[in-house]
């Protein structure tokens, strides 16, 4: 089997096959012999190339929280494999769906459907734990949809608004 995991700009393909009671895992051409013993509550005891490592894995949709041995915790996104997802602001060929970067409350909706907006203009403001996050237009465009309202509590990843680039509007 093959899995693709993304972390920020980093994208890694991992191949894994069952071998005897364990696994053979390839990461960037490096081959690891792995025994695995699942525990409770996300705990996963591994022996990687003869070395005992306790790992924890938790899921949240596509996201994977991983803590393996003394290595820093990482959050990976399991890619569905069907090519790159278009990142907001990078490819203004189609409409951009602006997602909430954190769980929080909507304090400001500074635009309305149909409005013309300039790149960098604040569209929505989220607040959580004394912090504000401004959701801005990734390019010059038109507001195609607004999917939140002031006072609403939204989950991370929720789509807040959709912007259509001017070129295709």
């Amino acid at each position: 089997m093959e899995f693709v995991f993304e972390s920020g700009e980093r994208r890694t393909t991992v191949q894994i096959e069952r071998r005897g009671g364990g696994f053979e895992v390839r990461v960037d051409g490096r081959i690891h012999t792995v025994e695995a013993r699942p525990g409770d509550d996300g705990c996963l005891d591994l022996v990687v190339d003869g070395r005992a490592v306790r790992a924890w894995v938790a899921r949240d949709g596509d996201r994977r929280f991983i803590k393996a041995g003394p290595n820093p915790a990482v959050t990976l996104t399991r890619s569905t494999g069907a090519g790159e997802r278009p990142a907001a602001g990078r490819s203004p060929r189609g409409p951009a769906r602006l997602e909430a970067a954190m769980h929080g409350r909507v304090t400001v909706v500074a635009t309305r459907v149909g409005a013309r907006v300039g790149k960098g203009e604040t569209l929505v403001v989220l607040e959580a734990m004394k912090m504000e996050i401004r959701v801005t237009a990734p390019f010059d465009g038109t507001i195609a949809a607004i999917d939140c309202r002031v006072g609403e509590i939204i989950e991370r990843g929720r789509v807040l608004a959709t912007v259509t680039p001017l070129a295709v509007a």
Partner: protein, 509 residues
């Protein structure tokens, strides 16, 4: 008034949450005092509530209806027959009106007198009082009514650039702007005033010279009702992001014995100048040449108090309780000796890779580190929910060792064994700070984070193979039918009357 306040305490209302509420309740137990935790509805089933000997619910989650609501807090104290209130830090801890209301209700406020608090809470008034007391302050301009554009331009001509604009009522890094050239002054002044007005309801700002490569060094003081005042050495807190401390240590690797004595004496003079009683902290900015300037006085127990406890052996919260009850200081100045080196990291639920955006949600497994010289003051445990109403601090990790390098290594290793599953934390970022050559050499200043950590995480950094192996194995095992992988997603398999995000919605809307 202070004489009236000084009488033995029997029963303490702890009007705060998270790790500091747990810390204060433990100190009460050790001092043989009863403790009642006053919590918001959303916190009534959290970690602090589970450790509380007794609980009273203040109201819904928003601070205005709970931890900032002085009427409800006073009513809770009366209802539960408490004779004292500990405010922790944040919320109402430095609100002179609240401190006065507590005293008016015949209760003991475990903190300084309202007058001292009011003076130190107004940065302009504090600066003037300090100048009169001979405490050095930064070259700058101020005035009861704050600084307007004309005054700011005049000051800039006299002081030169860079300049710092600060809110008179400031705190938490809001209302602060650095101005590096004349063209930025007008916009920066307007922004600082607007932010200050919004955050504190007080748009007054002041201007000071901005010191490059300065150290943020603060001195812990303790003062009793009899007029005795001692200092417990310094803490260095130069590692800040957005003006909020994330790594603190005692002693400072920069401070010599001679400088320590001058800082300590100055801090005691500052505390005396405002009639301070109980535990407080005098913050200084120390220039590379060792000259130092009064910044402000924090009239509360501070987040970073454990590093001072580690090196002095003095329990500061216990001392707060004793002093508020009319008791003596825990030691004389001669008895205060610093032993070894201690460093604290604040573990917050924020994603350092996305501009420190706070991360809320239900956490899965939580495992805190153990071992020699390791202290963990935690505000959550496995399965708890991190909400959006309060700040993102979930635990403090403190390492104490015979020397600074041992403390650094202990802390780094301890950070590496922290498990908080389901939300991002700044642990990897903190490890990068601790491993930085400048930090290891004791040479990090307040410029460190902006200059040295801006590129974090390093773009070319690869993921550890072990993490990718674990991810792949979990996919394989998890896909073969409800296997071992758990966490947030597996927790809720239907409507759950206890789901805290539901509660949160009730409280938050």
């Amino acid at each position: 008034m202070s004489r009236l306040a000084a009488r033995p305490i029997r029963r303490v209302l702890v009007a705060n949450r998270g790790e500091i509420a747990v810390r204060v309740m433990r100190a009460c137990e050790e001092a043989d005092l009863e403790a009642v935790l006053a919590a918001s509805e959303i916190d009534a089933t959290g970690f602090a509530a589970r450790t509380a000997p007794e609980l009273v619910v203040l109201g819904p989650a928003p601070p205005s209806e709970s931890y900032l609501n002085s009427k409800r807090i006073l009513a809770a104290a009366r209802e539960r027959r408490c004779d004292a209130i500990h405010p922790g830090y944040g919320f109402l801890a430095e609100n002179p009106g609240f401190a006065a209301a507590v005293a008016d209700a015949g209760l003991i406020f475990i903190g300084p007198p309202p007058g001292a608090m009011a003076m130190m809470g107004d940065k302009i008034a504090a600066r003037q009082a300090m100048e009169q007391a001979g405490v050095p302050v930064l070259p700058g301009v101020t005035g009861r009514a704050g600084v307007d554009l004309a005054a700011a331009r005049r000051a800039a001509g006299r002081l030169g650039f860079p300049l710092l604009i600060k809110a008179a009522a400031g705190g938490g890094g809001r209302g602060i702007r650095i101005v590096r050239q004349a063209g930025e002054l007008e916009a920066a002044l307007a922004a600082a005033r607007r932010e200050s007005e919004g955050a504190f309801g007080d748009g007054r700002v002041m201007l000071e010279r901005f010191i490059e490569e300065a150290r943020h060094i603060e001195v812990q003081v303790l003062a009793d009702h009899e007029g005795n005042c001692i200092h417990l050495g310094e803490r260095e807190c130069s590692i800040q992001r957005r003006f909020q401390k994330i790594v603190e240590e005692a002693p400072s690797p920069f401070v010599t014995a001679a400088l320590r004595q001058r800082l300590g004496e100055t801090a005691v003079a500052a505390a005396r100048a405002c009639g301070y009683v109980n535990a407080g902290t005098v913050e200084f900015l120390v220039a590379p040449d060792g000259t130092f300037y009064f910044l402000e006085m924090n009239a509360r127990i501070q987040v970073e108090h454990p590093v001072t406890e580690a090196v002095t052996g003095i329990d500061l919260v216990r001392a707060q309780l004793a002093i508020a009850g009319g008791g003596p200081l825990p030691a004389s100045q001669d008895e205060i000796v610093m032993r070894g080196h201690a460093i604290e990291c604040r573990i917050t639920a924020e994603d350092p890779a996305r501009d420190f955006a706070p991360c809320a949600g239900k956490v899965g497994q939580v495992v805190w580190p153990t071992g020699p010289g390791i202290r963990v003051d935690a505000g959550i445990e496995s399965g708890d929910t991190i909400g959006v109403h309060y700040d993102s601090l979930i635990a403090k990790l403190i390492a104490h060792g015979p020397d600074r390098m041992t403390a650094v290594r202990r802390l780094d290793r301890a950070l590496g064994s922290v498990v908080v599953l389901g939300v991002e934390t700044i642990v990897p970022y903190l490890q990068a700070v601790l491993r930085h050559p400048l930090f290891r050499a004791g040479q990090a200043t307040t410029a460190f984070v902006a200059r040295e950590m801006a590129g974090w995480p390093p773009p070319g950094e690869t993921l550890p193979d072990e993490a990718l192996v674990a991810a792949a194995v979990a996919e394989v095992l998890g896909s073969s039918g409800g296997g071992p992988v758990s966490g947030r997603a597996s927790a809720g398999t239907g409507p759950d009357p206890w789901d805290r995000s539901d509660r949160f919605r009730v409280g938050g809307s």
